[in-house]
Symmetry: C2
Subunit: 310 residues, 2 copies
Amino acid sequence: MPVNILFAAHAERWETYENPLNTALSNAGVQANLSTDIAPFEVDYIVYAPNSDVQDFTPFTRAKAVLNLWAGVEDVVGNTTLRIPLARMVDGGLTQGMVEWVTGHVLRHHLNTDLQVLNQDGIWRKHIPPLACDRPVAILGLGVLGQACAKALAGLGFDVSGWSRSPKDVPDITCLNGDDGLQQALKRAGIIVLLLPFTPQTENIINAGALSLMPKGAVIINPGRGQLIADEALLNALDQGQIGHATLDVFRQEPLPPEHPFWAHDKVTVTPHIASETRAKTAAEVIAENVRRGEAGEPFLHLVDRDLGY
Amino acid sequence: MPVNILFAAHAERWETYENPLNTALSNAGVQANLSTDIAPFEVDYIVYAPNSDVQDFTPFTRAKAVLNLWAGVEDVVGNTTLRIPLARMVDGGLTQGMVEWVTGHVLRHHLNTDLQVLNQDGIWRKHIPPLACDRPVAILGLGVLGQACAKALAGLGFDVSGWSRSPKDVPDITCLNGDDGLQQALKRAGIIVLLLPFTPQTENIINAGALSLMPKGAVIINPGRGQLIADEALLNALDQGQIGHATLDVFRQEPLPPEHPFWAHDKVTVTPHIASETRAKTAAEVIAENVRRGEAGEPFLHLVDRDLGY
């Protein structure tokens, strides 16, 4: 008897995922009926985008797990109708894409390539940056994505520190934790990268106080979540020269409205939520593996801790 | 008796190098008299910038070696008055700076960060690049700099091939050589990085024929030597869309004259010869080590082969 897997996401996702998911399920040895239309009481697994039409999980009486299509779960973790296991997406392709985006933008600010990209005016502006070993970079958040980015930047020679709520140990990285550790990380960060999950504890973690601790002219790169930053405080710090530049990929409202002051600010680069894109092929393999585990009675991968919120 | 070391370079270099060189010589155990003014027949070593006033080496009757301050030797290697060993600069700081510049610009083109840097106009342009593993990068030139850049790019996940005149073997890199190898490298390069020395054999190696072999829309990054590229052929290829973009750090004439068409071309990024900057501290250590070797009767490091020209 095939396993019934409901694909609950917008139609354009179905076009992207139908073939990769069927291939991955077949490769995992799962005989599956994958569809966007299955009677709720017959659904065994839900492949899920939090912005899909499915918001009430009550009718899914026999479902064994909700398998999120992307890494952020803040729009589903508080859903009180969800009483079965919830797995985040931890996609190797998404992680690699994030490493490339973060490394590219850290190097962009480190080398100040904008100086040339924006000024092709015939003036020979010789600007020699320090070497990476003299450029302190702080990564806030040492989950899968933060650790991968920290490792890539350390590999290129950057002086990398990382901060997480609870103590962690990552080779070649100065690991900090707790409130004191956060202050230390902020105080030494020439470039700071935000890769924290969005939780009540991390909302507005980059507020006026945090911004004032950073070295004058520091750069903020946010591929994490828009809610990590207090927008008004950041705009003030940019206007006062306390923060040199902000490259922001995520926002409280997306797409970022054309009238938002971030667009017009010459010290802000807006990018359209492209840093962490799930890649269908590798993501499908993660989902198929979790279905296989569910059917074999093995523990699911990447389960969300409902109390922590990630 | 101290070793007499003539510092033959422009005055601003002396300001940068005097202290680091004296420190490095002392650390190497060399008792030295380092000066910009020593009678030629008393000079033991010449620390040399090819654009210095010293162009006739005949009066330096007891000098044991000319120690070049930078990597390129094309302006001294043909000097017929030079009959003593000539050493190139192979500076760890220069190599690291080159790796950072090349990696930064490869990622800039790979991610197309210019799309956002140049267009902060309120339009949410979602553009997801392929992963680095699906982006073929070719490095022409597998000397110290080329190998270091190839290794860094492969470490980030790029599909890297490298070409050199004679066969080389570099881990994790597809190594090509000879004329056939050059054609192969050009045919598959989505992004090509030029790190060849300037010799009669490499002049205009990127000519109309070479450009026509590259995939349509390929990107050229040149931190090597301006003479590697036939400028007119490149401008034609950019105008026809055969080449998507060129980021050029080196030119036949530097500073690049304001009226040169590269400045005004919207598919060219001019950078002011900043990719390969010698760093005083690490360069001074290389020079001091070569003086120590000369005094101890040991072979010099980084000797130039006059026949090959590098």
